[in-house]
Symmetry: C3
Subunit: 477 residues, 3 copies
């Protein structure tokens, strides 16, 4: 019998299986993702309905259904309260749709997910986590719903129980710089042995053109315990927050920007920009420059406090104004743009590219940068590591193209291993499984073509599945 | 025996064959192309010599021969009459070359087409349409010429007879907005049961910087039956032409632009630009803005009249001034440029991206946009469908890369199926055959790797071969 | 037994082997590279230590070790003498490290090169050139060092002896426009039958913003025998140098630029720019324009004197200022940027694109240009040929992607065959071997899928391995 996902060439299939099996029992390292820490704070946390768990939070799923004309309302996506510039006539009251009916709609249209990672993940998740081998379709919809619902009622489907069953070693959440990390504190206080750690994400206070920026600064003042009213106190507050996050177990920060543009501003310029922003007078260009400057500042702080810096670029957020106005952020309407690193990142690299203890992990959504810029940069600068394929590219072919594009130039030891980057907690095992299988199949190809030998292949397999993520994110306890 | 084009892995080869055979008998849907409708207006239409049929109209062929130093004159390409800024000393009189000699030259150099789609198409066309299995080379040139010539004299090689034999269900031509569609009327009047439909292509009246634009506007006035002298009458004329095209069976429009740039102009701005253009004073920037505005206007009209909108971007036309001056347009000297959709198309999508009945099919010549922009856009916006790989990418590897790049993100149900986009009528069957084989091989790979199951694979095969084109272009009678 | 690098599919593996064996004995054509001609001027030239030969000159190797935190000093890379703007406190005295210790460090970290071309090349080179089959690792480091050292002491490891053994037919060096070509003269005078020819590379005198440009112009005056003080004498000096290079056997020129930007300046503008540069007042924009103009001038000269023109674009040189200041140029810190040809090269093509005797070979570091711009351009313009994948892309997958991306549009007869572009003389056989194996495997795939037949495949194999390079670079004696 062939083994799933591997090449259909018998020799490669069998070599891939051996490699895969050599890492199958290794724990999962989850250094970057968006699982809500409250899942673990309450030992008796319950997931709600199958739709609450699997559909409503998953923009991979509802964006595809939306693309085929199915309204988000019909999928249970809650509309926001009325907003000032909402389209006139739109009802903003959440429309109540029966979850069993939503599930039926999803299953009626499941063909849309054929040959997509979402299709693979949910199938594997149902089989692996819930023990459900039925195919997602109109006929089976009800039976699958019942089976999931029944499973979720059982204690072994509490998040903490799943953490053990999934064999997770560590799971990092992503948290606003202003977050009090109360759920993390609760977890620590509970004596539970799971390792859930926060990640410092300051975008909301750094991106001065974001709606709500001043509210975020007010919140920063509050958690800092002093008034953030200028650039100096802003930097001080961020530094103190980082100390706090680190004390709560954080080993990394995360930063999102439209581009990798960096620029060193003088203290006076930074101060002036910050003050303009506080008055609500910052321009779009001001915002780009300030973000570019803050990325360098964050690299400076990381070089001092040892937090691993992650940079995600290239997503044009909230591209569809109708969807944004009615449903808010993260609704599947984020579209990639072209990326550039060689010129944009140079000011940061000029200052910190050769730093002996800084690590900067790069992610982006433009595959053309892989071989042209990212691999050559990571194959030279000591601080750089390449994050795994992100978002749309967290897929079998996306990962295969990534390995093809970067390893010849950067090797595998300049990679950051895998991270699942998901808010869909029960999909974590299948996501890691896909990565491990891609790596096994890719290495099997290299092995059979005699580019590497057995010793190389097995050591690379382990590194890609486990070691690189743990080392890059400094997760040794 | 292995089956042509499919993977050499025996399991995949055999799975691909089964999938391919399941759609082999389905009719051909040809929703976009450049076949001359006059072929069908005259029931006794004759194709001329083998060179008239296969070489002179095919810029894929003569551009390659030209790239190796063979003059276009030696291939029978007619030079234009003297033009004002012709290179001095050039003879513009068409040079008469014996067609049998041209054919010999082409065959003497046929090695140039090894491993190219043109090479595949002509070989398959000779075998499949003409029953000629000889290899194209110097020795066989004469015999092949004779055999084609003899075939073309027979009644079963009239265009209408081939239409039946090719099993075409519908074939759309591409026609200027100012076209009277006389051949289409003749076809309709003739009672022949073939379905030849026009497509509304207004580029010549929309692109205000094109040479001859004012002449096109004059022609538009003529066919409209009123004077187009301002933006208002221009829009009115276009709307009326669309009504006429629709009455003649059109289900789609087609628009070509250098980029996907869109911009909503105010009525006053549009009027001002139009009037500057009428005075011959429009700048290059005016032209870009006006085209960008008209794309949005065309989306507006399509949202109202239901014509499917096609947009082809990214070809730098007539790149070689020497070739353009001597031979005119479409002479194999069109070179792709970088494409961008995320930002450029946003103004159009802001207005019409969520429209319930609009369909916009996107094509371009920059493969980097496939996974980065096109698939994410099509995987979210209800109006978008992705056209098949275009022009240089209408090839085995081009199609394979396309499926690899877009399906994981957009699925297959946001694709527009296949269109052959050809003026080379007898190449239609082989072009569809290549597409169907690519899809069969690609799906076989997915199937053997267990990404999809048998039911998925066969349904996807049919959709890609037939249903998606028919549905996207609204071709149900 | 499977054959190295070829597909693991048995049928393809065996077809690839047959194709490969058909060209195995053909001599190596090396039309572009950076081997030092002094190797051949002295019949008794000795290579120094294994580290002198294999590590210190190879930025592919030390950049990767550097990326993992190993200082260049520890690898024996000599620091420059103090430079004006050196980082304060840096010791610029070369640090002496024992070569046997350096070799041990390299071998201790050899895992970094798993699945990289560098890893393949050195393994193949040790086996093929030195007869050493030990794996590079900590344990074998000493034994390998000893074996290389012992080999290098033997007469059959003199460069001239290796030239015979490598079966090189011709090897081109790359030489500054101001070079006296003394080693080339010595070789010619020696009566040795090896064919070592120079290549005219005028970058240092053409790029007016390069540090040391005025010194280069002074040197140009010196070798020209007259004062280069304006644009006219500059052009005259270049033309005379080309005559000299040609008299010394050169058949080609080589030009490197950040982009493919070309622009025809008037004689007055060119003169003005040149004079500004002589006064040290040229701006960055002046430099771009002057380089763009000189590329057209070089095409003009090539159209007259028949030297094949090579253009390498897209490398952002000396990206890391710390490494540049301490160690100088070519230290593994050159990072690719995005490339563009369709618009940038148009002014040059407008003037010379249809020239009957000019050949322009294009290279770049942005793979996205392959299918989008380079193949369409080469598939039309008679003067263009595509150079093989360059630098980071001179790898198994890089070459495979190149063939996949360009052949369908340009065919193989618009390619320039292979060049090794290396300064690592003993790596030449393995580099050609990888190219020949890639081509064999790629053609085997085409053959088994019935895109081409046996006759096509064997003729294409020979063309790719030998003929195309020889013809493109006009190397017939």
């Amino acid at each position: 019998m062939r083994n799933r996902y591997f090449s259909s060439d018998p020799a490669q299939n069998s070599a891939a299986l051996s490699l895969y099996e050599s890492v199958k029992e290794l724990p999962l390292i989850c250094p970057h993702g968006h699982v809500d820490p409250r899942l673990f704070a309450d030992p008796d946390y319950q997931f709600g309905s199958p739709v609450d768990l699997l559909i409503i939070p998953d923009h991979y799923i509802f964006r595809m259904l939306y693309s085929q004309g199915i309204p988000l309302d019909a999928l249970g996506i809650p509309a926001l309260l009325p907003v000032p510039n909402a389209v006139k006539g739109d009802s903003t009251a959440a429309i109540k749709v029966d979850h069993r009916q939503i599930w039926q709609t999803v299953c009626d249209n499941w063909r849309l997910f054929r040959a997509t990672p979402t299709g693979i993940w949910l199938r594997d998740e149902l089989a692996g986590v819930f023990g459900i081998d039925l195919k997602l379709n109109s006929v089976n919809a009800g039976a699958i719903y019942d089976a999931i619902e029944e499973a979720l009622a059982r204690p072994e489907f509490r998040p903490r129980a799943l953490y053990e069953r999934f064999n997770i070693e560590v799971l990092a959440t992503t948290d606003a710089a202003t977050d009090t990390l109360a759920p993390h504190q609760t977890i620590r206080d509970s004596g539970w042995r799971g390792r859930i750690i926060p990640t410092f994400r300051p975008d909301a206070v750094v991106n001065i053109d974001q709606p709500g920026w001043r509210e975020s600064i007010a919140l920063l003042s509050e958690v800092a315990g002093f008034d953030v009213r200028g650039y100096g106190t802003f930097i001080q507050a961020l530094e103190e927050r980082r100390v706090f996050f680190k004390s709560m177990g954080a080993t990394a920060t995360d930063h999102a920007a439209l581009s990798a543009y960096t620029e060193s501003l003088s203290a006076a310029e930074a101060e002036a920009l910050f003050r303009r922003a506080m008055k609500g007078e910052a321009t779009a260009k001001d915002a780009v420059r300030f973000t570019g400057h803050m990325l360098i500042e964050m690299a400076r702080m990381s070089s001092e406090d040892g937090l691993v810096m992650q940079l995600h670029i290239g997503s044009f957020r909230n591209h569809n104004p109708r969807v944004f106005e009615r449903y808010g952020r993260d609704m599947g309407a984020d579209i990639p743009i072209r990326g550039e690193f060689t010129k944009n990142l140079k000011p940061l690299l000029d200052r910190f590219g050769n730093h002996p203890s800084l690590t900067l992990v790069l992610f982006n959504l433009d595959e053309t940068t892989y071989s042209r810029e990212l691999a050559p940069l990571a194959g030279h600068y000591p601080i750089l590591r390449l994050g795994p394929p992100w978002w749309f590219f967290d897929s079998w072919l996306g990962m295969s193209r990534f390995l093809d594009a970067v390893v010849e130039t950067a090797g595998i030891y300049n990679l950051a291993g895998f991270n699942d980057d998901t808010r869909a907690y029960p999909s974590i095992p299948t996501r890691h499984d896909v990565w491990r299988r891609v790596c096994a199949d890719w290495l099997a190809g290299q092995l059979l073509r005699d580019f590497i030998d057995d010793e190389d292949a097995y050591e690379m397999m382990r590194a890609l599945a486990y070691d690189l993520a743990k080392q890059t994110y400094r997760l040794d306890p």
